[in-house]
């Protein structure tokens, strides 16, 4: 049994397969692990992927890029309008729906964005199936967090018409977390993870709380005006000015030359992520002049310095929104192709000096891998409830602590049950008391969950274990089991491991 995870981005699409307990990105027929999400309509055929991207220089009006921006959107949508304004391919409105106008010689065709997405999905399916060698239709598809009902529906329809059986649609940041298996090994514990996704045309930052292996999005921000393309453009502008400086020719007004330059700048940008310098070479760029220019990584970073600040700023505002300090974040996941840029990684690392930066998986493959893992989890499960997009569950609202004495003698609070734990929950803790005590007291405190560690804990109960045997050396092992029901009522049992003595209390919730 195998399943597929597919990520359709604005610029690129990528698919991963889950097989034999492993999720792997599969390379397409051109040998690339990531396929450009570009569809070109030629006179007799339709091409998808790299070939379409390359032929765009000559066939710009019949080549569709960034279809995701328009998918499932109404003509009045601001993002759709922006896309229509930028698109080289004419977009018209037909019966309230947007259609691409494709002119391939004899007849004028109107292609819906769903059909374009379908072509890309078909390509991804082909890629996955050729890698698996079998016909696999079960798929998990990722969607951005800001996708609305209509867009999800349109995407789902496109995938379904490509022959996919959609197991579930998951959000991109969650898929990224799943790819790294955060919180998947043991269900206990709580952590905050920042997902930083810098895609081709958009930037999104998301704060996710992982509690008991369940992900909960605390806050998310999407910026549509910045993305990898901005870096390429900046580099292309630089190259154009270089060209002007050496040949006294301004090529900025020449669309075709600029497109060639963009393609070249894109390649240079990619190699600059790994190499210190890159050579940009375009044959016959303008007026028969060949263009050759070397760009160093330092030069690139200088050109894009303002873009970097733009890219980092959203993190700060997100932290502000959820009220976290950089130290409250336990992990940072990078995804999106442009998150490869070394400078960007350095800037994020500077922002979170003590935090682990997860980059072991290539950033543009993180999301499809997560989707494939999810597909593997769902595989073979019957009665899949598909409408799980927005499921709500009961979670505990308070942190529960026990007061202890630290080694230095100061009072410390040990967290027994963190807030946001999905209910019903059961937590077992082993506590220790000095062996020379004949009785132990567990002072239980609560504090309402809030920004950082919130308000001061206040005491709500105590459990006393008496008549314990004194031990000259060693400690008393006390096991505390906390059980919280769905309505929020709490039940605590404490047992002394040596004598088997136990005490229990039940605390009702406020309501």
């Amino acid at each position: 049994m195998a399943a597929i995870g597919v990520h359709l981005g604005c610029t690129c699409a990528c698919s991963a397969v889950y097989k034999d307990g492993r999720a792997d990105v599969v390379a397409n027929d051109a040998g690339d692990r990531v396929t450009p999400a570009v569809v070109g309509f030629l006179e007799k055929e339709v091409i998808v992927g790299l070939a379409a991207k390359q032929s765009r220089v000559r066939n710009a009006t019949n080549t569709i890029v960034k279809v995701k921006q328009i998918l499932g959107r109404s003509p009045n949508d601001t993002q759709a309008k922006k896309h229509i304004a930028e698109s080289k391919c004419t977009v018209v409105e037909k019966a309230g729906k947007l259609r691409y106008e494709i002119d391939t010689g004899d007849t004028l065709k109107f292609v819906s964005p769903e059909d374009v997405a379908k072509l890309i999905f078909s390509k991804m399916k082909e890629t996955a199936q050729s890698a698996l060698g079998s016909d696999v239709n079960d798929v998990v598809i990722t969607v951005p967090f800001d996708f609305g009902e209509n867009q999800k529906k349109a995407l789902g329809e496109a995938a379904a018409s490509a022959g996919f059986n959609i197991l579930r649609m998951i959000h991109e940041p969650s898929a990224a977390l799943l790819a790294y298996g955060i919180g998947q090994d043991s269900p206990a514990g709580k952590s905050n993870v920042l997902v930083y996704k810098l895609g081709g045309t958009s930037l999104s930052v998301t704060m996710i709380e992982v509690n008991s292996g369940i992900y909960r999005v605390l806050a998310t921000k999407t910026y549509d005006n910045i993305g990898g393309v901005c870096f390429t453009e900046a580099l292309a502008q630089h190259l154009a000015s270089e060209f002007q400086r050496s040949y006294k020719q301004d090529i900025r007004g020449n669309a075709r030359a600029m497109m060639k330059l963009m393609n070249s700048a894109d390649l240079a940008k990619h190699s600059l992520s790994t190499l210190g310098s890159s050579n940009c070479f375009v044959d016959s760029l303008y007026d028969g002049i060949d263009f050759d220019c070397a760009v160093s990584r330092a030069r690139f970073e200088l050109i894009c310095s303002s873009l970097f600040t733009q890219c980092i700023h959203p993190i700060n505002s997100l932290l502000e929104e959820v009220g976290f300090l950089p130290t409250d974040v336990n992990q940072v996941v990078l995804c999106g192709g442009s998150a490869r840029i070394p400078k960007l990684q350095q800037l994020i690392k500077d922002l979170f000096p003590e935090v682990e930066l997860l980059t072991s998986i290539p950033p543009d493959e993180v999301i499809p891998i997560g989707a494939a893992i999810q597909a593997g989890i769902l595989l073979g499960k019957d009665n899949l409830s598909t409408d799980l997009d927005s499921i709500t569950i009961e979670c505990s609202a308070i942190n529960i602590y026990v007061k202890e004495i630290g080694e230095s003698g100061a009072e410390t609070f040990t967290l027994l049950l963190p807030s946001g734990t999905p209910l019903p929950a059961r937590r077992q803790h082993s506590l220790q008391a000095p062996g020379n005590f004949s009785s132990v007291c567990l002072d239980l405190y609560e504090s309402v969950s809030g920004k950082s560690n919130g308000s001061d804990p206040c005491k709500f109960a105590q459990i006393v274990l008496k008549d314990l045997e004194k031990k000259a050396s060693g400690v008393h092992d006390i096991t505390a089991v906390l059980t919280m029901k769905r309505d929020g009522s709490l039940h605590i049992t404490c047992t002394d491991e040596d004598s088997g003595k136990s005490e229990m209390i039940t605390v009702e919730d406020a309501s």
């Binding site: 308070i398 202890e404 008391a433």
Partner: protein, 617 residues
């Protein structure tokens, strides 16, 4: 390190938690999410995973105890008699039985194998029976059966420890719930449906009790009896034998299944008949129905009474009103009578007065005959005149002299006579009217269909055309009428007969009337045509006076004149006109032209006919 408790401290809750649970939106990803949802859907409380682990460990520890117990009997088991062995006991799961999970069975088998495998025992120096006869085969067999869901179900179905008995009605009479609750609990394990309704207690609502019994009456059991098959299919040597075995087994299973269903049925029947709640419900129902019936009857009776009372009241009112009316009428009649009498008297008196006054004046004449006539007239006057006029007449008579009186009387007489005449005329008119009405009504039930002049003409024509004695004469006439009538009214034989009879009955004057009318009509019609022609051809000379038609006499005279005065005669037309009296020269010329035209037309027609016949020839 935890704190030490103070001596006076006790476990206590000092305040409730400040916040209840909150609803959070979570991402549907990851295995823990799936586990959570699964748990939630199954509504298993607490951490399912952990609890299961705990249970398993405890089960295993219990298994150990059984096996120790079981050792002695286990070794005596005969592998050939596997069918009658309790496989759960063999694996040491005697207490868990059908509740044991696959995991537990597997674990138990593993433990048994470790202990009882021939190789192990051989190593321990025990004597081993060679081949399949060793008791270890029983363990293998038990595992084989219990690890296969189908075989396990078959074995569970005939679980030797299951008590098939059902309590009788009498047993459940006194302590129904104590007797039946365990039986239903026991049998509910055969249900295909997971949730089996409980018998409940005395306070269970009727809906729940109904649901309980309907569940058990439609009990869907998974119990089957393939384990008890006499023959084994695998033993068969050929296909036919296998088929035969299969048939046998199927019959036996069906039989057992039927018995099982009967058993459940009996159980439920017994329970139902001795269920005190059902009895109670039935009684309640009966009481309720009776009460309802009674209420209904009461309501009906009351309604009837009300109606009766109302009717009585109405009748009374009507009676009273009638009485009052009658009384009034009588009073009025009395009054009128009195008045009439008074008037009569007055009239009598006045008449007398008139007579005497006239007598006094010798009836205004000296002549005997005249006076007699006057007397008659006076009598007439007395009869006819109203009280008031009589009075006034008498006043004038008494006040005036003889001559004046005569004038007055005569004037009165003439007035009276005129009135009489008028009355007579009116009477006659009325009479005629009434006869006419009678006639019209006699004109038939079909008289509703009006008979126009044309229709009457047509009828007369038809009656003459089909004389008496024609076969189905009146139908024929009716058909003829329908065919030829322009009025479009359909008439049947009856209508026609009626009309014809009424026509026969008509007096000759009316007949004349009709004829005249017909003639007028004819004239009118025939006049219209030439007029229209004249109108259409205004160029023709037209004298205001229309000439009268030529009589045969005149025609003859004209022809004669035409012959006597040939064409070349001078002043021919003057002479012709002189020869024909009453006709002017112009008339004659016109007539001549007409005649010429007619002759010409006749000749043309004849020629045409001739040509036609010739052409035919």
């Amino acid at each position: 390190m935890l704190l030490e408790a103070k001596p006076e401290d006790l476990s206590a809750v000092t305040k409730v938690l400040s916040a209840a649970s909150v609803l959070c939106q979570v991402e549907p990803v990851g295995r823990w999410f799936e586990a959570f949802i699964k748990r939630r859907n199954r509504s298993v409380s607490a951490s399912f995973q952990e609890l299961e682990d705990e249970k398993e460990s405890s089960d295993e520890s219990e298994d150990e105890e059984f096996q120790l117990e079981e050792f002695a009997r286990l070794k005596t088991l005969d592998p050939k008699d596997w069918k009658n062995q309790d496989h759960y006991a063999v694996l040491g799961l005697k207490n868990l039985r059908y509740k044991a999970t696959q995991k537990q069975i597997k674990a138990a088998h593993k433990a048994m194998v470790l202990k009882h495998h021939p190789d192990k025992r051989k190593a321990a120096g025990e004597q081993i029976v060679e081949g399949d006869n060793d008791y270890f085969t029983c363990i293998t067999k038990a595992n084989e059966i219990l690890s296969d869901p189908v075989k396990r179900r078959a074995f569970n179905s005939i679980d030797p420890t299951f008590e098939n008995s059902t309590p009788s009605k009498n047993e459940g009479r006194d302590n129904f719930f104590e007797v039946f609750t365990p039986v239903f609990d026991r049998n509910s394990r055969w249900s295909n449906k997971k949730t089996v309704p409980k018998l409940g207690n005395m306070n269970t609502s009727i809906e729940d009790v109904d649901a309980f019994y309907s569940f058990w009456y439609n009990f869907d059991s998974w119990r089957e009896f393939s384990y008890l098959d006499e023959e084994e299919k695998e033993k068969a040597e050929c296909r036919d034998e296998r088929r035969w075995i299969e048939k046998q087994n199927r019959a036996a299973r069906a039989q057992r299944k039927k018995e099982e269903m009967n058993r459940i049925r009996t159980l439920v029947d017994n329970a139902y008949s001795s269920d005190p709640r059902i009895k109670k419900f039935k009684e309640e129902e009966k009481a309720r129905k009776e009460a309802e019936k009674k209420a209904k009857a009461d309501a009906k009776r009351k309604e009837q009474e009300d109606k009766e009372r109302q009717r009585q009241a109405e009748l009374e009112a009507v009676r009273l009103a009638k009485e009052k009316e009658d009384e009034e009428a009588r009073q009025q009649a009395l009054l009128a009578k009195k008045e009439k009498e008074i008037q009569k008297k007055a009239i009598k008196k006045e008449r007398q007065r008139l007579r005497t006054s006239c007598k006094n004046w010798n009836y205004f004449s000296d002549n005997e005959a005249e006076s007699v006539k006057m007397m008659e007239e006076i009598e007439k006057l007395c009869d006819r005149l109203e009280l008031a006029s009589l009075q006034s007449l008498n006043e004038t008579l008494s006040a005036s002299a003889k001559e004046d009186g005569k004038v007055a009387v005569e004037k009165q007489i003439s007035e009276v006579n005129a009135q009489l005449k008028k009355e007579k005329a009116e009477e006659e008119a009325r009479m005629r009217q009434s006869t006419k009405g009678a006639e019209q009504s006699a004109a038939g039930s079909g008289g509703s269909k009006s008979w126009s002049e044309e229709d009457l003409q047509l009828l007369i024509k038809a009656v003459n055309l089909f004389p008496a004695g024609t076969n189905a004469r009146w139908e024929v006439i009716a058909n003829y009428m329908n065919l030829h009538s322009g009025s479009g009214i359909k008439r049947n034989a009856k209508d026609v007969i009626n009309k014809a009879k009424s026509l026969q009955k008509l007096d000759p004057q009316q007949k004349d009337d009709i004829n005249k009318k017909a003639f007028d009509k004819f004239k009118k019609e025939h006049k219209v045509v030439p007029q229209s022609v004249d109108n259409a051809v205004p160029s023709e000379r037209f004298d205001g006076v229309d000439s009268l038609p030529w009589t045969t006499e005149e025609q003859k005279l004209l022809e004669q004149a035409l012959k006597t005065y040939p064409v070349n005669t001078p002043e021919r037309w003057e002479k012709i006109a002189a020869a024909v009296p009453g006709r002017s020269k112009k008339d004659c010329m016109k007539r001549y032209k007409e005649l010429v035209e007619m002759v010409k037309a006749k000749k043309a027609a004849q020629e045409q006919v001739m040509n036609a016949t010739k052409a035919k020839k």
